[in-house]
Symmetry: C2
Subunit: 483 residues, 2 copies
């Protein structure tokens, strides 16, 4: 999950969420017509079939197994690597062999950033290797590295207060983890803020609530007209160690070496596979995740699992021989981790089709045991989804929350297209996120089955239902009946 500029947007969404959540609480009554209620309820048998097939039928355990084969075969799938393109070919070829339709890759120009070897060594007050992961887009250091005294700060406020000490130093941010959305700002703009004050490099405490000496990578960006200085994340363990040394008045000297380098842009592809609609194929429900990952771990959780929940939802519907009136489109986005490159490219180049988008879904915040769906949309969308949630009762009490949370579909949501994402018990998401620990151990077969069933069921019902969902949060609560 890429989250740099996003956090500002998340605040806006959160604000809207407050209003919407209170809506959900205060206005329990939905005024759907009896006909529409009956229509939604009539999908109960088909949803039951979908659930049965994933939870106890021939698809049981499939998503976990398929994902394991994929991530074990390819490992991490970083933007600009051949292995990502091989993984894309794999999904395209398999999609064809499964009988999915309109299977193709849509070319996207993507950045190419290469980590290279990297090390950080504490030289004073004692010698110690500091585990680190350079941040995406960071520049490297000279070959001999940067050796400088460190200034440890626990906030941007402290950085500003100690501005006079910063020139020529390595700034170590030991910021407390509040929430990902809030704390990631240190990773995103920590280099820029320190560079503005004359720092040589920054080492940032990894953005996570828990660590077993686990460095986390992620994206950063440089402000305009600022010297680009190297930026990497270190572990909570080492950030707090350096803080204590600093608090004791000890002189801290660090050598940082990073070969990180940006190369010319290259080509990748978004992966598309459809189950074409039977009567209004131009109208579409999208299910999606991103196929690229960071260059560490296996990219199993972020976002192999989200992609495979989407892909297996289509494979499951195909297997069951269920075809909706609208098209259900699976998209695996490319280069999400380096700035939502694939999704933004696709959305910008398909704006004419926006009017035909019925509902857009993504899973990119973990595939733990589901609690329901997070959605963005107006009251009528909410009411329809609430009714659909009742169909998922065999999976437990599935609830609605708002807004939806999918970085790749964000531009669509901003354009007023209703969308949804998985709502799961994601307590440990940020334990694994962007680390070497993002492997199949973070994934649970039962949870993946449940999430696959939810994506299959929700996308099918919304693709088949007789009404088009209204766009825009401010739109009239009026349905347009599909032909």
């Amino acid at each position: 999950m890429w989250c740099i500029k996003k956090f500002i947007f998340v605040w806006l969404l959160c604000f809207r969420s407050l209003i919407m959540s209170s809506d959900i609480k205060s206005e329990q009554t939905c005024h759907l017509s009896n006909t529409l209620i009956e229509e939604i309820d009539s999908y109960a048998p088909i949803v039951q079939r979908i659930i049965n097939e994933t939870i106890q039928g021939s698809f049981k355990g499939n998503t976990w197994q398929d994902l394991a084969i994929f991530v074990d075969k390819f490992g991490p799938r970083f933007t600009g690597t051949q292995v990502l393109e091989d993984a894309i070919d794999y999904v395209l070829n398999k999609s064809i062999s499964f009988g999915l339709e309109n299977v193709h890759g849509e070319p996207v120009t993507v950045p190419r950033w290469v980590r290279g070897s990297e090390s950080a060594t504490l030289l004073q007050p004692r010698h110690k290797d500091l585990a680190l992961l350079g941040l995406g887009y960071s520049v490297g250091t000279p070959e001999e590295g940067i050796t400088a005294n460190a200034v440890v700060v626990n906030s941007f406020k402290e950085l500003k207060k100690r501005a006079k000490e910063i020139p020529g130093k390595i700034v170590v941010y030991n910021e407390k983890f509040i929430s990902y959305g809030e704390t990631v700002e240190y990773r995103s703009s920590g280099a820029t803020r320190a560079a503005e004050l004359g720092a040589m490099a920054v080492l940032i405490r990894s953005v996570t609530p828990f660590s077993l000496y686990t460095p986390h990578t992620g994206m950063m960006s440089y402000g305009e007209n600022v010297t680009k200085i190297p930026a990497a994340c270190i572990t909570i363990e080492d950030a707090t160690l350096l803080q204590r040394m600093s608090d004791r008045g000890e002189t801290i000297v660090i050598n940082l070496k990073m070969q990180a380098r940006r190369y010319p842009d290259t080509q990748s592809r978004n992966v598309i596979a459809d189950i074409t609609g039977s009567s209004i194929p131009e109208k579409t429900v999208v299910v999606s995740g991103h196929i690229d990952s960071w260059d560490v771990g296996q990219g199993a959780m972020d976002d192999g699992a989200g992609s495979f929940v989407s892909w297996n939802a289509l494979k499951l519907l195909k297997h069951l021989g269920i075809r909706a009136r609208r098209t259900i489109r699976m998209i695996m986005w490319t280069s999400e981790e380096l700035g939502i490159i694939g999704a933004n490219y696709y959305i910008q180049n398909h704006t004419l089709e926006n009017k035909n988008l019925q509902f857009v879904m993504e899973s990119d915040t973990g595939t733990f045991i589901p609690q329901g769906l997070k959605f963005s949309g107006n009251k009528l969308v909410e009411c329809i989804l609430q009714r659909i949630m009742l169909l998922l009762a065999p999976l437990g009490n599935m609830k609605l929350d708002s807004p939806c949370d999918g970085p790749d579909i964000e531009s669509w949501i901003n354009a007023g297209i209703p969308g949804g994402s998985l709502w799961t018990r994601d307590e440990k998401y940020f334990y694994y996120h962007h680390t070497n620990a993002d492997t199949m151990l973070a994934e649970n077969p039962k949870a993946l089955d449940m999430n696959t069933a939810i994506f299959a069921a929700v996308s099918f019902v919304l693709a088949d239902i007789s009404v088009d969902l209204p766009h825009n949060y401010t739109s009239e609560n009026v349905f347009i009946k599909s032909p």
Copy 2:
């Protein structure tokens, strides 16, 4: 905590524990004389002072702070390194400055094993670096490493069954974590068992219930008349990855390079500091932990914290000006991790003093929030400790369990000397144990204060009380009144 031969002993203790636990449950009534009960109860004000001083007084937070200064200054303190000897000097000098008595280091001959650089690389079916930590006493590989096909087994039973496949291979053990005591057998004797069947090397799944791509080290040993083959632990993530590849029938080729090497024995010291008894100084209560650690992390939890709880118990009593009738001796054992070297040497060379040992304590299984004390001793010991636990009520409901758990004091316990160890909520001990994550983050100031108070209070009361605790589990339940 060193646990190789120990697990056999633990089984014996567990068996005894079953009997003793049922004792604790079935026979709630203790037949202590009213005089003795009154005597124990009379320590309530002094125990209250000890607790007040640690929980809300001038010692609040001290153990955490002192430990942080120590482990931040020295880092890991591996047997045979100068840094361990420097750390020992630090404790000796500080002990003198605190006014502790009989402060000295007792020389011990210790082994010297050096890890050197090490790497494991998966070459087929795809290229991947495998994080690893070589095991203590393992031999190294030739310079170019060992490149061989891997055989992945999930148990010794499977190893035996596939004996014909083993010659010339690297055996990967993907054993499930049951409990440390049970599962550590793979780390301890996995190399020997595989070597007996002709294996070239072993890679063992780290002995832990949870991992964030965290390799764990620890000790291993070679059986007699067996070819010594290199042995290292890999992460759960990679062990299960290799298992899945193997299950799919893929050929797995690994290159293992280890520079590990044994050097001639060298010298270290057990650290001793006393508060000499006021009237029967030859009789002693021991509080202890081990000062050495593995060569990764900071050795904060294993066993910096245990050592510092013991040390600070003495510092606290000194600070409060409380001197017991018997001597309270703090021992920081050296070279526990390479086979309980320091403690066994001390105990063998002080057998004549065994008769004067009133009670021996160690903390080496974590210093989380305490639940009470684990003890080894007969019914009378239990009854006295039960009464003492009531004095600790200001810390919560402190309970007794059995047997005690301290690798260094094990030989004394085996000789029938009554002993105790902290009983804490140690759920996460094996997350951190023998890893780079064993740092101050694993330690909690409040828990350390509580444990320090327990060690200070229990050691003081037992050192001051009018009766000698009986030795031997089978001894008569008769007290000998101290002069």
